[in-house]
């Protein structure tokens, strides 16, 4: 069966070109980059080539790229590293309430050790305000972390403006951005953004899983995430994942070379998805239509629940995701959708469709048709939809009596 894979913000297909580049580093050039012999030299050269490729994707110098195991580790290294290396007394973190759990949970963990976190709130379109950031940062701020693009609703944050405000008020604060969803979708340039730290994950732009990078601006001091043999400038000890790093490098090169074309194509397909689904009654777009990643469509359909929608779509050959509580382990609706001010009962009906460079027009057509069909099927069985149609209040249903833990 033809399948439309529209969950590319979860992960992407590894580009066959990247796989091809990786293969020799398993069975032929399998040396340890730290070894002095020719096996080691070959592996070292491959790692350094990849470092340059990744650096070019974000406008950095090769020496400013630290390879990690992925986006989560990069975020951890940035936050823990900055908290650990900050000046005494500078124990405050500023972040937003719509960050990825890799940032939010790390902040919580640091709070347990005496750090204090201030959360920037987003407006109804999903944006943080640089003015709010200016109000919060102080000489006691160790790090400011605001994501470049949101993983759920694709909103592109004013990171550059936030960085400018922070520089003016807190000379010693480091500015970090999680660019995991942005890389390969929009231009990312560490100079233009004015950030000190920037997280990347290879598998979000058609590289392999298990590898990522943290841009660490020259001269910025962090405490290491992993101690040992002193790899990656002492910030991340452990023998390099050579094939993974090579694959990430290749994927970064392809992403950079094709960015303009890919973004235009994904934008067109994204708009086809949004324009195809918005006419469905009681359907709304989550997040801003304008400052949005070219590959992200996130809509909510009132009166239905997202897990059911995702599994019906799977049966129709469409892979998507939802911010519904019922799909999460905590049975809580997406913190991002709730932060947008969307009522919880509506957040359950959200559907995220995310595209990639490989997404076709046929996949988009299939997704639009299948979604329309699944939504009307679920609405036909929904007592909540019946109320919406009858103009009755949706909240305040009698009975209840089950507790979510």
């Amino acid at each position: 069966m033809a399948y439309a894979y529209l969950d590319n913000s979860a992960t992407t297909m590894t580009d066959p070109e990247a796989v091809k580049a990786m293969l020799p580093y398993f069975t032929e050039s399998y040396g340890n980059p730290s070894s002095l012999h020719s096996f080691g030299t070959e592996a070292r050269e491959a790692v350094e080539k990849a470092r340059a490729q990744v650096a070019r994707l974000v406008g950095a110098k090769p020496g400013e790229i630290v390879f990690t195991s992925g986006g989560t580790e990069s975020d951890n290294l940035a936050l823990r590293g900055a908290a650990g290396a900050g000046k005494p007394g500078a124990n405050r973190i500023v972040t937003s309430n719509v960050e990825h759990p890799a940032v939010l949970e790390t902040c919580k963990s640091l709070e347990a050790r005496g750090a204090r976190t201030d959360y920037l709130r987003i407006d109804r379109d999903g944006f943080v305000s640089p003015v709010d950031a200016a109000r919060i940062v102080s000489e006691r701020t160790a790090i400011v972390s605001v994501m470049l693009a949101n993983n759920e609703i694709g909103t592109i944050q004013p990171v550059q403006e936030v960085a400018v405000e922070c520089r003016a008020r807190a000379r010693n604060a480091l500015v970090h951005t999680d660019a995991v969803q942005a890389a390969g979708k929009i231009p990312v340039d560490v100079e233009r953004l004015g950030v000190d730290l920037l997280s990347l994950a290879s598998h979000k732009f058609h590289g392999p899983k298990g590898v990522g990078a943290l841009f660490v601006r020259e001269g910025v001091r962090l405490s290491p995430a992993m101690t040992g043999g002193g790899h990656e400038k002492g910030l991340r000890s452990g023998t390099e994942n050579v094939p993974g790093i090579v694959g990430m490098g290749k994927a970064a090169e392809i992403a950079r070379e094709n960015l303009g074309e890919d973004a235009a194509r994904m934008t067109r397909l994204r708009d086809r998805l949004i324009d195809g689904l918005l006419p469905v009654e009681e359907t709304f777009l989550n997040g801003s239509r304008e400052k949005r990643l070219p590959n992200n469509a996130n809509l909510r359909f009132l009166g239905i629940e997202g897990e059911s929608l995702v599994l019906l779509l799977d049966g129709e050959g469409v892979a998507a995701s939802t911010g519904s509580a019922c799909s999460s382990k905590k049975l809580q609706a997406s913190h991002v959708l709730l932060a947008l001010g969307i009522p919880e009962w509506q957040a359950h009906g959200s559907l995220r469709l995310t595209l990639s460079r490989f997404t076709t027009d046929e996949e988009v057509s299939r997704a639009v048709d299948a979604t329309k069909g699944a939504v009307s099927r679920l609405r036909a069985m929904s007592p909540v939809w019946k109320k919406i149609k009858a103009g009755e209040p949706v909240i305040g249903v009698k009975g209840g009596g089950h507790e979510h833990v």
Partner: protein
């Protein structure tokens, strides 16, 4: 492999007794849209037995499947038998549910019990059995 058993997926994809009922003898609606699940069970009663049953559900795969299953289990049962059906009966018949989804089977049983209670209350009010 899905987190759900084949039987759960089968009841989700092809739910039994799904839909609204014209002039039901009893209606039970439980749950809360804020939590992401609402179930409504409609019953018709004849000679002390559930002669017809329908459900409507807003919720996840487990919520739909447990609603479908409780209607299958309750159909043709006496009101006393129906009142004894519980969450265990539902999840066992479905070949088990992921632990985090167990509450869906509670909800399904509650909806059925609420419908029976509603029927009994209505009957007590009119003093006679509804004409069916």
């Amino acid at each position: 492999m899905s987190m759900y058993s084949d039987k759960v997926m089968e009841h989700f994809r092809n739910p039994k007794n799904m839909g609204v009922m014209d002039s039901p003898d009893g209606v039970g609606e439980v749950g809360n849209p804020v939590c992401g699940d609402v179930m409504a069970v409609y019953i018709k009663v004849k000679d002390g037995r559930i002669s017809d049953i329908k459900f409507q559900t807003f919720g996840c795969v487990a919520a739909v499947a447990t609603s479908s299953m409780i209607t299958e289990l309750a159909k043709g049962k006496t009101l006393e038998e129906a009142a004894k059906l519980d969450n265990k009966s539902v999840s066992t018949e479905l070949g088990g549910l992921p632990p985090i989804k167990e509450h869906c089977s509670n909800l399904a049983a509650e909806a059925l019990h609420a419908a029976v209670k509603d029927y009994l209350a209505k009957r007590a009010q009119t003093g006679t059995r509804p004409a069916h």
